[in-house]
Symmetry: C2
Subunit: 247 residues, 2 copies
Amino acid sequence: MTRFAFTLEFDGGPFMGLQRQAHGPSVQQCVEEAAETILGQSVIMHAAGRTDAGVHALGMRAHLDSPKPLSPFRFMEAMNARLKPAPIAVLDCVEVADDWHARFSCIGRAYQYRIANRRAPLTLERGRAWQVVRPLDAAAMHRAAQALVGKHDFTTFRSTQCQSASPLKTLDVIAVRREGETVLIETSARSFLHHQVRSMVGCLALVGLGHWPEGRIADALAARDRSALGHNAPPEGLYFVNAFYPK
Amino acid sequence: MTRFAFTLEFDGGPFMGLQRQAHGPSVQQCVEEAAETILGQSVIMHAAGRTDAGVHALGMRAHLDSPKPLSPFRFMEAMNARLKPAPIAVLDCVEVADDWHARFSCIGRAYQYRIANRRAPLTLERGRAWQVVRPLDAAAMHRAAQALVGKHDFTTFRSTQCQSASPLKTLDVIAVRREGETVLIETSARSFLHHQVRSMVGCLALVGLGHWPEGRIADALAARDRSALGHNAPPEGLYFVNAFYPK
């Protein structure tokens, strides 16, 4: 048996999410079906994160076990040939130890959220960013966001369907900056609760619009109550950027 | 009568091109039909450039005449509401003099060409860039491209269907640079021949791959012969970026 660790890039638009779903196409189903035609038997893919419907990935890490002694390069090439026309690509692939696990060995995850802050409807960025029409104050969003850094009970920013054992998470970085008409939010942590990034971004947008004073982010966090949440940002602006592992 | 000058952004993917075509949807048809529902009579849109099927625009300039005394802002808002779901947006709109013409008053045009220089199939950039699998030497492409700057007979880089009266054009700028796995080509001139940018990019890619020595760009130009053309780059990497007018 050979364990392959690989990096996936995908457009989340056509999928019900990363995880296999009974009611529609998923990234997991596409990857597993492609692998099965190569390996000749059923396989299970494990991924670093479980992204929602419409969420994209620039660098999702995953693994699966091959009963065949293929080279990682040949496996990647065969996967990319068989994944078409699904908008999923294997960017790299290496052989890893049998106890390496894309999800359980992961010690850090990085996300990016893109807001298209403009009045005109989106064309080339449609489905790739959240459009916010009124002007956002990215500097105010950045200042307000710093209250979220550190170890906190993130219940306010947690989906009611979150399956995490604890709402306690340590947020390492959250940074907001403007690049032209795009407002970019970058954040990383060992792990995130379900909907945590989208919930944080939604509240920060309220700060950016001037609807919330900057200090209300800290208040919402301290409330530990989902009803203190201002807004959940939509999935199409969210990108899983990277997963980190011990050397 | 009020003449509106406006900036269009569009995803060229679903269109047969900017100009109205008998055999499929065009940007012109979508814009004119949207304007007609607002203005209550048929209108003709004139644009700075006539982009091909699949070519995108970040800042195409155009104009049309309104028989109604609408404000430019109200016209823009109404257009954006009616253009949906077509991936076309009006980014700004101003009133101009009756003798201002988006095409004939234009004194400069700028294009960008995006090459995704990577092995893995495209997902989020599919239809938004030309994928070139083998490594490109962007510095060599840039050096070679400088032979194209200035006033030349660009017959080699001209479509057989080009309707320009003369193959003589003055290329002001062509610059090639790498940004990660993207190779960007930016070029501007008063005007371009049909397929000129795509033809130049196609030949420069042959230099970047090492198939052509750098000096062959100058040789191809000097040949003034379409058969000296190496390759025509595909439309999906091309973006009309800006049109320039006298102050």
